[in-house]
Structures are given as C-alpha cells and as structure tokens.
Amino acid sequence: MRPQRESRIHERYLRHTKKFPNIWCAGCGIGIVLGAIIRAVDALGLDKDEVAMVSGIGCTGRMPVYVDFNTLHTTHGRALAFATGLKLVRPEMKVIVVMGDGDALAIGGNHFIHAARRNIGLTTIVVNNATYGMTGGQYSPTTPLGAITSTTPYGHIEPPFQIAELARCAGAAFVARSTVYHVEELQEYMTRALQKEGFSLVEAISYCHTTIGRLNQWGTAPEMMRRLKDDSIPLSLAERMSPEERAGKIIRGILADRDDLTEYTRRYYEEVVQRARREMEWIVPKSVLPVRAVRE
C-alpha cells in the first residue's frame, strides 16, 4: 500500500533538487491549488509517469517546474493548444493544464473555448486571481468592474468573464468552481475533474493580494482569505436566491457534469482512424497497409 500520510506527500511529488523556494509571494494561493492537485493525483493513485502538467506564462504558469510529472511550461496563452497535441499522441496520459485568468481567457481565450467545444480530455485548472499577477497587477478579463489596477488608475469599466459559466457554455464535460479557502472542496473537484474522460475545468478563485488586493485595499493575505469564505456561497444555496441576493457572490459548486459526450481523442481513434482504414481496405489489400499500430 502506498503511504497516505500527508507529511510524505511532498516528498513524492515535489522536485527537491529544483532550486526551492518557489517564486510565489508569501500568502499566495497558487501553492494551495498545487497542493490540492497533488493530493487529488495521489488519492487516485495515478502513476507519475503517466501524468503531464502543461502551463502557460504567469505566476500560475510557474507551477509545473516544482512537480515531479512530465512538465511543459509553454508560451503565454497557448498551454491548451500544446496540450492538445500531446494528448492526441499520448491519449493514455492524464494531461493537466494550469493557467492564470489572463493566460486562459485573454490571450488564450480562443484556445479555451475550442478545447472545451472539442471535449478533448484535458484537466484544466484556472487560478483566477482577478489580475495579471506576474506583470504587476494590470486588469485581466476577470477583474471586477470598478477595480483599480495599474492599467485602470481611474477604475475598471469592463465587465468580467465568468470562467466556469463560459466553459460550460462552450461544451465542457465537467465544470466546477471553488476557492483556495475551501481546500477540501477544491481537492474533491480536482479529483472528479481528473476522473472525467472529457474536457474538465476547475476554476480556483485566489485573489492576488500583492497587486490588485493592495491597490483596492482588500486587506492582507489572511484577510483576503477570510473574504473568500464570507463572500462565497454554495451553488445549492445560490439556486434558491434572487439575482439581487446573488450579486457579488462567488458561487461554488459543480456547474456541469455531463455523460452525453464522447471524449475527442477516443472519437478520433475509434471513428476517424477506423473509417479511414476501412476505406483503405477497399483500395489496397490489407497486407499492404502500413504496420503502425493504432493507439486505442
């Protein structure tokens, strides 16, 4: 039996020979998200050799370098597109994609909706800190209306994207949202996302205290953590509230969990490749077909 003690988990999943400490600010929630991912992978007993973690650029994008998986730190916004290529040639791998909100929805917004629409089997985790953390707190597609950021010194006038709702509308098979305050819930959603064969998205709210938090006097890191608790409500409760009552609340829960969709790589190999082979057999006798095995 594998050791289940929490104290040992970091030894099994973190890269000790990497130059720790990590680059994140003290009090940042990205590490909490990483912890939840690792515990979910551990709980499912996944083989590290079969897990890849792909990221874009940003504070969140630095996550893969610290974990002992197959890790790919790509370009800003493009993590899902890199991961799509990897997943298609290694369908047996669990491919986890981690991105910031700017990474996933501004520069990478196109890839985000199309990966969800295709329902390709990527476990996607967006750390929504409501700003561009790495570049120092400019507004992002999820910055709330009215917020002061380094590029909205007079207040923000664009409405924010709802990440989880966007993924659901784009066709994702599994969609959930929680916060870095609700660690166990987050971990449960990660576990369920990893178990889903199709495209899954977990949005983890983790406001950046160093940039947008400070500029808007949202308080210290612990105070902002408390706000995540006070300002969020479970989906079951939200459903019983009026839009006015719900306004400004973070709604936590599973927004989509579909069983009516077939995962993309499975469809590709089972439908497209099989049809192409059948067509070939009409034209060329079987013995002439290339020998390369079809990945199932």
Partner: protein, 371 residues
C-alpha cells in the same frame, strides 16, 4: 515506381508521411490548404493524427506538443499564418523540439495576393521570431524536390533537435508535374535518438560531445521539465550566465559543425564561369532556362541552385563565385537572400533581379541582367 501526376502540396504531404510524420495540425490558407486536405485523408489511414486547429498559433503549439509526446509532427501555412506562428517557432528553437513548418509563400505583405507566388518570407524564416537562434530552412524548386526536401526537413529536425522550415512558393505548391517517387524502402529516415542512461541521470539539455542530447518523449518514465525560459541542463529555469552561455554556444555549434550535411545545393557549370546565377525555388527554373540560353550564345554562365537557404551557405556561394565577374541573384521579393550573397561576395559583383507584384521572373529578365 511508375510516374504519377502530382501537385507540389501533395508531394509535400506524401514526403512527410514517407518520412514518418504521424501528426499534422493546421489552419486553412491558400496556397497551403491542399497539404492539410491531403493530410486529413492520409494520416488517419496510417494511424496518425490530423487536426484542424482554431488558428495558426494553436497549430504550431499542437505540433510542438505532439513532438514532445514523441511524434514526428508538421504544420503548413502561408505568409499570414507564418507570421502568427513566429513566437512558438522560437519556443521550439529554445526548447529544442524537432518539428517541421511548411510555408507556401504567397504575395504579401498582409493578405496580399493569395494565389500569387512570392519569396517574401525568406528573411522572416530566418529572423521572424525574437532572439538569437539557429534555424534550418529549405526551398524546393520542383514537385519531386518538394517530396525529397520534406523528407530531409524531418530528418534534419530529428538529427539536430530543431524546428525546420520548408519554404515553398505558390507555383511549386500548386503546380502539377509527373513525378517518380522513390521506393519507400529506399528512403532514409532518421528516428528520434534514444538514451542509454536511466531516468535519474537523464538531462534533456546535457552538454554532450555530440551537441545534440536525446529528447525522450513524455510518458516513458523520464519525467523532466521543458520551458521557454533559459534553462540549465536539466531543463529548469536559470539566470546563471555559466549555464546560459554554454547552452547558447551549443545550439549554434550543433548546426555549424554539421554544415556539410545540412547544406543542400546543385551546381551547374560554375567552374570557370564568368557569370554566376544564384537562385532558389520557382525562380531557379527560370534561371536554368536563362543559363541555357546564354550558353547557346557562347557565354560561360554557371548556376548555383540553393536548396538550403538557412543556415546561409557562405562558403558554397563564395567558392561558386570564385571566377565570376558578375553574380546575378533573381528573387520574387525586393532583395532578401541577395543581402547574404552581397555580404559574402561583395556588392560590386552582384546584380539583383527582383519582382514583388505576384508575377514571375522570366528567363529573359535574367538574361537581360547578364548583358
């Protein structure tokens, strides 16, 4: 094999499959669409993957992701899409990921004239992405050559762990010629290098004597890190100069010390020639015609047809131009590769023949430059 009538774009796709390509990601664009269409039909037949992505940025990203997973992977586009791919081509150079990028050049800038030929992306192929990096770029001048150079592009990509660019042009891509393809068994295929070391010793960017450390595909027990940041031998981000500089030197050295393998070209009567024509791609066809006509008039004219444009074959050009008083460089742009020729042989001897309106350079245009 018996001759078949084939389009350049098709020959590119067939060359890729012959080279062992099992992954194609692309986005439709004239005059490269036929490559994608051919791949969409052919790759599933051999158990490979074709995917049409949401744009060219995603296409090259997926290609790199597939290459990390162990596939020989390719994308094909034209000028506008090639521009979009530049950032990730730099990523492939930085992370040393083998892949092939086909650019069937059309007239630019911008949307330009989509169905007209051009050689306007020669410098973009070299310097399109930011930062210093080596690159290999090949330019075919016929349908058969397109097949051969596509195979060569895959082999270079694997042998040197680098992105390779195939610079076609609209005429070569769309033209149909009767070609005799080589026997598949006779085609040399370079496969991804393997390592003898166990996972705990493996360093994906190790400074090995070969200068090309093997890249082990994800999912084979060698868990390591790939990044576009400057990195150490294990692939982890670094800011140490004693790690950045040796890496930079190695990635240039791995190309530079193998020029005799990488530089492909054809010489025709350059020995003792008084006039040398240096041409590539579709223009090399007009150049060949012009050279023949000049010889009929009793002139000593040589032709150097370049297939490898980058790295620029400095010594080859220098040698070929030794006896020439005049070096003519016809190009379907306003002067791109000629800048390299001038750098090597001196501006005094060089005469440019240029056209960038979507029409072809005629043999008579080149002949006129010999006068």
């Amino acid at each position: 094999m018996s001759p078949v009538l084939m389009q350049g774009d098709e020959a590119c796709a067939e060359g890729a499959i012959a080279a062992g390509c099992t992954f194609f990601a692309g986005y439709p664009i004239t005059p490269a669409t036929e490559i994608a269409e051919h791949m969409a039909r052919r790759l599933p037949q051999v158990g490979g993957v074709f995917i049409q992505m949401e744009d060219e940025i995603a296409s090259i990203a997926a290609v790199i992701g597939a290459a990390v997973g162990g596939a020989k992977a390719m994308t094909a586009t034209s000028g506008p899409g090639f521009s979009l791919m530049q950032e990730n081509i730099g990523y492939a150079a930085m992370a040393e990921i083998p892949c092939v990028i086909v650019d069937v050049q059309r007239l630019g800038p911008s949307t330009g004239r989509p169905t007209s030929p051009s050689q306007g992306d020669v410098m973009q192929a070299r310097w399109g992405t930011h930062g210093d990096h080596p690159i290999i770029a090949l330019a075919p001048a016929s349908v058969r050559e397109t097949f051969d150079l596509t195979v060569a592009a895959f082999n270079f990509a694997e042998r040197y762990r680098t992105p390779v660019i195939l610079l076609m042009d609209e005429v070569i891509g769309h033209m149909r010629e009767g070609v005799e393809l080589p026997d598949p068994a006779a085609i040399e295929r370079i496969e991804r290098a393997e390592t003898l070391v166990p996972p705990e010793w493996y360093k994906p960017y190790e400074n090995l004597p070969s200068d090309v450390p093997p890249l082990i595909p994800f999912g084979q027990g060698y868990r390591y890190h790939i990044t576009g940041l400057h990195h150490d031998e294990r692939g982890y981000p670094t800011e140490r100069l004693d790690e950045i500089n040796p890496w930079l030197e190695r990635i240039f050295r791995k190309i530079q010390r193998n020029l005799s393998d990488i530089l492909l070209y054809e010489e025709d009567g350059v020995e003792g020639a008084r006039t040398l024509v240096v041409a590539y791609g579709v223009v090399a066809r007009a150049a060949r015609h012009a050279v023949r006509m000049a010889r009929q008039r009793g002139r000593k004219v040589g032709l150097l047809k370049l297939q490898t444009l980058w790295p620029f074959p400095e010594e080859v050009v220098e040698q070929a131009a030794r006896s020439a008083r005049r070096v003519i460089v016809p190009e379907l742009n306003l002067g791109q590769l000629v800048l390299e020729v001038e750098r090597v042989v001196g501006r005094e001897r060089v005469r440019r023949v240029n056209r960038a309106d979507g029409e072809l350079i005629k043999p008579s245009d080149i002949l006129a430059a010999m006068a």
